[in-house]
């Protein structure tokens, strides 16, 4: 099963807030944007809902419930 890690976007121009807006497929160093038209993004959402590992931007592994909740909030 694939492993994914969220990557934070840092808003340098405003207040340095951090918000994930891409996810990395770890084994391929593949940065996937949160774009519903991107097929890797579609696959990422499906795989996480099917049990693939999702780490937050600090590398902490999310529980399946946390991952499911995160995926449901995505576009």
């Amino acid at each position: 099963m694939k492993k994914y890690k969220l990557i934070n976007h840092v808003d340098y121009w405003m207040d340095n807030t951090k918000q994930p807006n891409t996810v990395m497929l770890v084994e391929k160093s593949l940065h996937i944007p949160f774009d519903p038209d991107n097929t890797d993004y579609q696959q990422f959402k499906a795989q996480v809902l099917a049990g693939a590992e999702l780490q937050d931007a600090d590398g902490n592994v999310m529980t399946q419930e946390q991952a499911d909740d995160f995926i449901k909030e995505l576009p």
Binding site: I7, H9, N21, S29, H31, P33, D35, T39
Partner: protein, 374 residues
């Protein structure tokens, strides 16, 4: 024949100017990812040439490669995709081994599929196999709940034969119109199980990738299946292949995939001494930043894969004006658009320095790919 007459005749018969073939890279000329053989992987579609995928749900049943076997292509062509079976695999009911291309909705919307005005199309291609018999494939919609299995016969082993299949457009179902989604998925079967095989020559609301009873390429160890000159056009007759110049084919392919410095494709020099260099500035945050504008706008926001020394996920070196350097295995590109992206060189925080990375396949050099495939 005058130009006026010619144009009038073409208009009356529906012959278009400039985009007859809805398939991109049908002559199998462009291969940006690799010219080496790729082996089917159940977790991902792979691309032996641009725009054409292979997929098999059981690992390592076949390979695909541009010009595999080094046979002479059909007259008028210089390239083909060669598929080779790696074993004598007996396909299970739900197995799928396929080769094909999804066509973007913008390029099929005028066919009016899913309406009473659906246009007839003709699929033509050159094929050569070590096997003979009935082969097939299918045309499908984006949701894969409409499919049209088609069959064709290969009569002589190891001989190029041109085939054509005429398909009345689907007047039912939901077909993606003028959007960047999948308009039509064209699939060739290489060994498809009974679950995904159906009656040839008829539209169905089931998911079929091949006609019932088609020859399984993966069923014979060492069997070959070579293909080129794939064309999907409006009308009930196969016309001559629309051969595009290399530059235009490359631009068409770059809408879906681009690479920078993953092969010897940029300024590099014979000894690696003159690579393309990207520079970055640190604006006081924790990451030096730079930008990259794509040569061609992409279909959607692409996924970006980093390379170091020509290896996916490999290490590359970020240098700084303080004579320091740091080895990294990935840059953080958290701002990606369909026309360009921002590259963040993570972990370099001295705002007094300037930073640079050399791009290419040499030691410590950076490359990356951008994929917006359908």
């Amino acid at each position: 024949m005058t130009n006026a007459v010619s144009l009038a005749q073409q208009a009356s018969t529906g012959v278009s100017q400039g985009f007859k073939n809805r398939i991109i890279n049908g002559a199998m000329v462009i291969a940006q990812r690799t010219t080496s053989a790729v082996t089917n992987d159940s977790s991902d579609a792979l691309y032996p040439v641009d725009r054409f995928f292979i997929y098999g749900n059981v690992n390592s049943k076949f390979t695909a490669q541009q010009n595999a076997g080094s046979v002479t292509p059909p007259a008028g062509f210089t390239n083909y995709v060669g598929i080779t079976s790696l074993s004598s695999y007996s396909v299970g009911a739900s197995d799928t081994n396929t080769f094909g291309q999804p066509i973007e909705g913008f390029n099929t919307a005028d066919l009016n599929w899913g309406t009473a005005n659906a246009k007839t199309v003709t699929l033509s291609f050159w094929v050569r196999s070590s096997l003979t018999g009935t082969f097939g494939g299918s045309l499908l919609n984006s949701a894969q709940n409409r499919s049209y299995p088609f069959s064709y016969t290969i009569s002589s082993a190891n001989t190029w034969e041109q085939k054509s299949v005429t398909i009345a457009g689907d007047t039912s179902g939901t077909w993606v119109g003028a959007t960047n989604g999948v308009g039509i998925r064209v699939v060739f079967g290489l060994g498809v199980g009974s679950t995904y095989s159906g009656t040839a020559g008829a539209w169905s609301s089931s998911l079929y990738y091949a006609p019932t009873g088609a020859t399984s390429v993966v069923g014979t160890n060492g069997a070959t299946f070579y293909i080129t000159g794939v064309q999907l056009e409006v009308g009930s007759t196969a016309t001559s292949f629309e051969y595009l110049d290399y530059g235009r084919s490359l631009i068409q392919c770059q809408r879906y995939f681009q690479s920078v410095g993953t092969t010897a494709d940029i300024a590099y020099g014979s000894s690696g001494t003159a690579p393309m260099r990207i520079t970055a500035v640190n604006n006081g945050g924790s990451q030096p930043l730079t930008g990259w504008q794509y040569p061609v706008a992409m279909r959607a926001t692409p996924s970006i894969q980093t390379y170091g020394a020509g290896v996916a996920g490999g290490n590359f070196v970020t240098n700084d004006s303080g004579s320091g350097s740091a080895t990294q295995s990935s840059f953080s590109s958290t701002d990606i658009g369909f026309k360009g992206c921002r590259i963040n060189l993570t972990g370099r925080s001295n705002s007094a320095y300037q930073y640079w990375v050399d791009c290419g396949t040499g030691s410590g050099q950076l490359g990356w790919t951008q994929s917006a495939e359908l």
